[in-house]
């Protein structure tokens, strides 16, 4: 997994490449946790290059969404590819998270 964070005005765009699994979920939580601690309030996570997510990865998303929302922040997920989207659908996470098909829509909603 590779995580790249860029800024567009006050929005942090987090691009996640590769696999979000038991091996990489702790690193995802660390990077997002640090971003939130540093004061990020508006985050868009671009999952376009993400090819795999497991329950360990979903847990990492839940664990990073909570502290951000507690601080009044917003996080939006974008660009889920088909196999990843299917796992989100199986777990009804699509209804719990803000998810958009395109980065542009996510940026407009965050």
């Amino acid at each position: 997994m590779n995580i790249e964070i860029t800024q567009q005005a006050d929005i942090s765009i987090v691009t996640v490449t590769g696999k979000l699994d038991a091996l990489t979920a702790p690193e995802y939580e660390r990077r997002l946790g640090r971003l939130i601690e540093e004061g990020a309030q508006r985050i868009v996570v671009d999952f376009g290059p993400l090819v795999y997510v497991s329950s360990a990865g979903l847990r990492a998303l839940l664990n990073t969404t909570k502290p951000l929302q507690a601080r009044g922040g917003r996080i939006v997920y974008a660009n889920l590819q088909e196999p990843v989207r299917e796992v989100f659908e199986m777990t009804a996470l699509l209804t719990l998270f803000r998810v958009h098909d395109s980065l542009a829509d996510a940026l407009a909603d965050v």
Partner: protein
């Protein structure tokens, strides 16, 4: 494939499994399902299968089909996932217990059948995938 009940061993096993599937003509969809089911079940065994701190071996075998069958054996507590109540397919972010049931929910969604046997102090789980 054999791995120890340690988180770092799971990481190495996931990479090994991915490399193996890439060498075969397994479809991306089936490859995803196999990796997901393997990861979820082995994670559960490592987290909940043992009371002691000893090293235990977990064995996994894949027979590429059709039908493709994944067999996992461990010497942890007797645990039959086929008789566990189905968790609701939604989860609340604050409910850690529900998140715990998420892995098994994904396993059920990705397989067409699961068969469990407990023999000679081993859990043996056979999982069949749709092609």
């Amino acid at each position: 494939m054999t791995l120890n009940n340690r988180a770092e061993d799971l990481g190495a096993a996931l990479l090994k499994l991915e490399a193996f599937l890439e060498r075969t003509d397994t479809s991306p969809k089936l490859g995803y399902a196999i990796q997901l089911v393997f990861e979820e079940l082995v994670t559960n065994i490592i987290k909940y299968g043992y009371d002691d701190q000893d090293l235990h071996q977990i064995h996994a075998d894949i027979s590429l089909g059709p039908p493709t069958v994944l067999t996992i054996e461990d010497d942890g507590h007797p645990y039959d996932p086929t008789t566990q109540a189905e968790e609701v397919d939604t989860l609340a972010p604050q409910e850690e217990r529900q998140i715990g049931g998420l892995g098994l929910h994904l396993v059920r969604a990705q397989t067409t059948s699961m068969r469990y046997a407990r023999t000679a102090r081993l859990n043996r789980l056979e999982l069949v995938f749709a092609e």
